[in-house]
């Protein structure tokens, strides 16, 4: 069986989807859940999370010992647009 690699954009969409779907009563999601559910290593996810916060797709919510991540309105919009273009690219038999 061939190994299927995810593209960078796909990984970002997986992180945002996890942040949306596994948010604890709207209080965000911990980095552990993001690592497990989006299947990204700690080293890689910290870099991506920094970038997503910078561009406003995720919001950082500091807590006592750690911090949680919540998807922003802009992040929700990104997922909607991503879904459209994912279908568009898939129509060509390609991966986004």
């Amino acid at each position: 069986m061939a190994v299927v690699y995810r593209t960078h954009v796909r990984i970002i969409a997986d992180i945002l989807n996890t942040a949306r779907d596994y948010s604890d009563n709207g209080n965000g999601v911990s980095i552990t859940v993001l690592i497990r559910r989006a299947n990204v290593s700690y080293g890689r996810i910290t870099k991506i999370l920094g970038r997503l916060i910078d561009v406003g797709l995720l919001e950082e919510m500091p807590e006592d010992k750690s911090c949680k991540y919540k998807i922003s309105e802009r992040g929700m919009e990104f997922l909607k647009v991503y879904s459209n273009f994912h279908d568009f690219v898939e129509s060509f038999g390609l991966k986004i």
């Binding site: 593209t7 568009f88 129509s91 060509f92 038999g93 390609l94």
Partner: protein
Amino acid sequence: MDLIFESVMNLLGFGIGLSIGRFAYRGYTNVGSPTLLRLTFAFLSISIGFFILWVQSMFDIFALSKAADVDSILVIGLGFQALGYFFLAFSHSIQSLTFKHMAPAFALVSLAIAPFFVIPGNSIEHIIRSISFILLVYGATQTMTSYMWSKNRNTLIIASGLALLALGEFIGWYNFIYPGSMFYYASIIVKIAGISAIFVPLYRFPMGRIKVGSSV
């Protein structure tokens, strides 16, 4: 009358290619996917190709053929279209990471060089057409293979569109054997049918303004 028909068809191809290219570019600016950038290059090149062919037909309509080298304009137009088909084929080959998957692409590109040696006294136009044909057959085959896995109806329509574009290039190449016949016009009609078939499944996507902001 034939020339007017040809110019209208080329203008139609330009419009459709431009619409798909603009939508792909909008996707690239919002999502930042390299696949969308490759699709942008592909459809903008195809669109520019149709535009140049339209310019060539305008030269013919207004009897300016002597003022410009229309054959060179035709070659440039077909060259842009071949570049677009290359980006479509490249998008498929780049996603097949192993040599095992790349091998058919290499074999087909090698075949594309064959006309250089096979046909005596051939022109650049026919060489470009044969390269386009090979690239389109590769793209159509890969898209059809994707359909086998996904069973996505839109993928099947796009694969058929690419196959029609390939058929159009083949008929255009056949014009080499019977010059001045109906083959040239048949080629244009089939090519426009092909690019229209690609546009049909994309019509349901919101072609209007989409803006999230800077891409990630």
